[in-house]
């Protein structure tokens, strides 16, 4: 097995977050349900984009956020995701490059725009998200060359991508390349509803090619259709793989074929915004894993990264995660 250029290569939806402060009246006028994530079409996204005042743009998406977290830890991360060659697509590329993440996926051709999530923040701090997936799922096998996949120690895949047949086929290609190159495959369940839609296929993946599983408690329970955390934990333990199950304020349980660690949540002065906690947890854990650190240390790195991101608004770290990890004596 040749040396890897990257610690982790992630595949996910490339989404540009468009954030703006707004009023309750604006939400009412545009029929937006406060505090939820709603999938919207291109027309709606465009309308919102035109109406929002002084928006801030930032490249986002669950897996891309994780790759940015790995870079913040001092890791080498790359991302495969589909944008259009439009203004938002260019912004996505610039932003993720600035964060130090490798990204050179060929932009989609045609009229389907770059995915966006128009996020409206009301004075009460609530975030109402209007996500338009655009061309984000238009990934193809051609985006996953064997050389690109083999260049990272770990391939990390977002469960969200399972909703589109083309993306699913592309991911299967990527997983096959990773296995052929002796690389590890990591997978996040992404969302309890996503798990509900793809339960059997996700289970088959976990019993098959996945080496490292990420799930939060709700996703783990959804996967095994139980109300009991312990039942879900037992089922995951039976897989005999590496897994990290996050439990919000209850911390996380990390395990592999031989070990189980029950880790408390890292202390946070004030939880400002839990968006991105799971993404950053995965960043910390994957960085540790790729660097060969002990399982418990991987879990603590995840906890530290998650604690940083929930202590402020926005799903990406505001300070160097590397310095936080060093301060905690973990790296």
């Amino acid at each position: 097995m040749q040396d890897a250029k990257y610690d982790v290569l992630g595949i996910g939806h490339a989404i540009v977050d468009v954030l703006a402060q707004t009023t309750d009246a604006f939400l009412t006028e545009h029929g937006i349900a406060k505090g939820t994530m709603t999938l919207v079409d291109g027309f709606r996204a465009e309308t919102l984009g035109r109406t929002m005042k002084n928006p801030i743009e930032a490249s986002g998406g669950s897996c891309a956020n994780t790759m940015v977290g790995i870079a913040s830890l001092g890791g080498k991360a790359a991302f495969i995701g589909k944008v259009n060659d439009d203004r938002l697509g260019q912004a996505f590329g610039e932003d993720i490059h600035k964060a130090g993440v490798g990204f050179d996926t060929a932009p989609a051709k045609g009229n389907v725009a770059t995915a966006s999530s128009h996020i409206l923040i009301t004075p009460d701090g609530q975030r109402s998200m209007n996500t338009y997936l655009g061309c984000a799922a238009a990934l193809t096998a051609a985006d996953m060359t064997a050389a690109k996949i083999a260049a990272a120690k770990v391939l990390y895949v977002e469960g969200y991508l399972w909703d589109t047949d083309g993306a699913k086929a592309a991911i299967r290609t990527a997983i096959a390349h990773a296995k052929a190159a002796g690389r590890k495959v990591a997978f996040t369940l992404s969302d309890p509803f996503c798990v509900g839609r793809w339960r059997d296929e996700f289970k088959a993946l976990l019993e098959g090619d996945v080496d490292i599983l990420f799930a939060n408690e709700a996703e783990a329970k959804a996967l095994y259709e139980t109300e009991s955390f312990d039942d879900a934990f037992q089922a995951i333990r039976k897989l005999g793989r590496t897994a990290a199950i996050t439990r919000s304020a209850h911390g996380a349980v990390v395990l592999d074929a031989r070990h189980v660690h029950i880790l408390d949540a890292e202390p946070v002065d004030r939880v400002e915004d839990t968006t991105g906690a799971g993404d950053q947890y995965a960043a910390g854990f994957l960085f540790g894993h790729a660097r060969g650190l002990p399982l418990a240390t991987c879990g603590r790195l995840g906890g530290i990264a998650a604690a940083e991101v929930i202590s402020h608004v926005g799903p990406r770290p505001h300070v160097s995660l590397k310095s936080l990890a060093a301060k905690a004596g973990l790296i």
Copy 2:
């Protein structure tokens, strides 16, 4: 191995609780620190007993409470503990017999009175305990006959007893009898300060004759001198024995050489008084273990018993734990 007459035989301090409502002024007048447990001498106990108005008496003590919980679950429990043949000693015996627990330890001779805990409850619901250990630790090897110890599937010992050389020697005799009869030995760490005083001896016991360990999170951390729950858990896991580690609102972790279960706390409408939560947890777990139920079921029985006792004032169950366990489908 012959059939056992009892599921569990407990050895602990026999203490009579003397409870009364009082005022803050009474606490101030008598120099009692609110909300704490203070060890007092016989004179002080007698004075408080004379001054308290309309006191209620109930047999208590950590291990005795556990035996009462086992009886409430429909289990067969017996208790070895030392009282004097005084009024409180007679009250202890009557009370524990009424609860269905076997108890025939010969009363102590001499002037040292039965142990008591004078508990003053102020209008804010706080409990200030003044515990006089009296003759409770005056257990001898003669109280632990081989036949008596062999009569129970599990011998359960309270760590509190370690503070007196005589009681310690008596317990070592009991443990030897249990081992010779092929019975299981269970041990509770009782209290973080108690662990601090006897850390090395407790560790030697756990690596030696103890088959089942009970600890709450603070005790487990105290034993292994760590601030990290996971570190304490790893150390306990290394013992390769059966253990239950309780974590208050975070539930409990139960384990044996092969399994680990991470169990949520049972829901409680309103926590009224956490006194006795650990004792009743042990009752549920030990009952399940003695009846050969699966490890996770033992843990859930513990959780249900603990949830009952914290939902009201007082360290013993107010309703039949057997009916609660049946309702939950566990027995």
